[in-house]
Symmetry: C2
Subunit: 376 residues, 2 copies
């Protein structure tokens, strides 16, 4: 099978680029004493997880219980579910946890922790629990200086089935760092927040074996991991235009793209239509913060990594992408039926529209088809 045999749109994953990306991140953490616990929310694939954990302890991070179940069924025995836990999900979590070494949960709310404690006791299943720390991203988590941190620790201490495992933070604001210096600052804030929280817990004789931080930009740019025990980057496996714009990677490091067909010419508007629209590309515009004229993605040749002039997807409808560029478009070279690929703004969101990867090794041949676990 080659790319020519695929119905478009299709999600293409270049294994050679993927392997470089996972090896580079593994090498970055090797010998630091900080475990790489790759976040599988981007790839959602056991084959990708095998590459990302090669030579590591094997622990992974997930963003849904569907991912937890999928990876548990494929032999991953140490999984952190890094989204705030609620009691109504504990029965499903318990069913998964019984089949693996540990499923670690997350909370940032004393009242929720109490409810989880009661439910875990009723279910008779043990869970390690991390306390989420806000390192300045202001999405979730408690302030490292807060009373809430110590209160949650007290709740967990009294819970027969929950064990305080440590602290976790995510520097989501690294995604908006104006430059590498700014991202380095965020990385240091991320580290200090969670190290400080761990210090407070230990000073109160609370256990804190895990001190977890991580995002791809901070994984790439951090100058110190001191005091951390693990790091949880995810999108580095694939990278995307947003990460390129942030300086996390070279453009040629982007491993995923959407294969698409030209389905119409609108020369009077200097526009080509393609069959990748809001569903196949997503409506994510994140890279435009750093890369003007990116729209919904850059247009590549159907094979390899070369870009087609300055072509980009300027607009999307459900199944239509509208491609334009500054110079007159190469309509003759791209007749209706011709194929191109689109580099995504945000690999996590674009990949979620597809249930499988068509894997290539730099060329036109499809050498494997890998599944993904979508949904919840």
């Amino acid at each position: 099978m080659t790319l020519d045999d695929l119905i478009t749109p299709a999600l293409i994953l270049d294994r050679a680029i993927l392997a470089c990306n996972t090896e580079r991140m593994s090498a970055r953490f090797a010998g630091t004493g900080v475990a790489l616990r790759p976040h599988m929310k981007t790839a959602k694939s056991a084959e990708v997880a095998a590459l990302a954990t090669a030579g590591q302890a094997g622990g992974i991070t997930v963003s849904t219980l569907a991912e937890a179940r999928y990876f548990a069924e494929r032999g991953f025995a140490d999984i952190t579910y890094a989204v705030g836990m609620v009691p109504s999900k504990l029965e499903e979590a318990a069913a998964i946890a019984r089949s693996l070494r540990r499923l670690t949960l997350l909370t940032d709310d004393p009242r929720a922790a109490r409810a989880l404690a009661d439910k875990a006791a009723a279910l008779a299943v043990d869970f390690p629990v991390l306390i989420e720390i806000d390192c300045g991203a202001h999405r979730g988590g408690v302030d490292p200086e807060s009373d809430a941190l110590m209160e949650i620790a007290r709740v967990l201490d009294k819970a027969p089935r929950l064990a305080l495992e440590g602290v976790l933070t995510h520097a989501g604001h690294a995604y908006h760092g104006a430059d590498v210096a700014a991202i380095k600052q965020v990385a240091e804030a991320e580290r200090l927040a969670v190290v400080r929280a761990a210090g407070r817990l230990r000073a109160a004789d609370r256990p804190c074996p895990t001190v977890s931080a991580g995002s791809t930009p901070t994984a790439v740019q951090a100058e110190s991991f001191e005091g951390l025990t693990e790091f949880r980057p995810g999108v580095y496996m694939f990278f995307d235009l947003d990460q390129f714009g942030l300086g996390s990677c070279a453009r040629e490091d982007i491993a995923v793209s959407v294969l698409t067909s030209v389905i119409g010419h609108q020369p009077q508007h200097n526009r080509l239509n393609i069959d990748a629209g809001s569903l196949a590309l997503s409506q994510d515009l994140s890279a435009n913060e750093f890369l003007p004229e990116t729209g919904y993605g850059w247009v590549l040749e159907p094979v390899g990594t070369a870009r087609v002039a300055d072509l980009h997807v300027a607009a999307v409808n459900q199944e239509h992408g509208m491609v334009t560029g500054a110079a007159p478009l190469p309509f003759e070279a791209l007749p209706v039926g011709a194929r191109v690929r689109v580099l995504p703004n945000h690999a996590c969101i674009t990949a979620a529209a597809f249930d499988r990867y068509h894997v290539v090794d730099g060329g036109n041949e499809v050498t494997a088809v890998w599944d993904r676990v979508n949904g919840w």
Copy 2:
């Protein structure tokens, strides 16, 4: 099973509202001589299609070949694939077409029409073909006054396996109508464009049995269907905040919502976090053109149609939605673990994140689970 038993996020479909919406649209076209050919790109569900085609001729419209195959396998025998066709999809289209009465294709490009003619001949499968007309939306289609219209008709006339079936247009610009009067103008432009194209074809002795227009806003607002033979609205089955903002429906007519759990409190930012983020809600912001402070959707009570104050999802990350409102949020009434539902901006895009509907009849009981066909 009740809503309380579902793992969140989950897609909820209210069958009572759905049935009202489909009956109202069917009634609108009954006796007009214009066939309703509902567009299944929103619902992608055989059960919904059965409601939408009840009492109709049974023809449907689809936006992907995956939909075409799914509906063909479920007894729908007259399907229009209303996205520009390319030769590389014709083999799959032929495999589907062999099992039904007709699979109608779309083109707006003479060169593509020639390539389709050659490929259909090689495959020995017959296809009716519609010529796409641009009625002012400037997405796809040829101008009704263009030479290209007549050239495509000549190409189809010479193609042994392709038969000119007529003309089709879609008033995508109706989605940006400033008010009902503006949408009525777009509806009339949509009608006149395709009626004019049909007139030119017939004047040249070309067949044109089908004159197809349609979008939900124009279906609701059009004052004349004269000269049309069919109409293809889709999102009216579910409606959404964008359609409410456009004046196509009442807010209580919106049949789909995302059930979600509160997963965190950030009172210092007057914010609740929920477990429906960019994946579960999509990043579609369309309704904000008409409804300020909508963000990624409005927050409803877990059962029924009542809104929770002015709460809306102001920001999204992959698995996190950030809910806020003008007044202090009701943190006590919505502890971590509480459930709410979110009304989507754009039902077509939000629904595509889910592989099934949990069906309710206005209440808390889940009375059915209906599948969806996603992907390509």
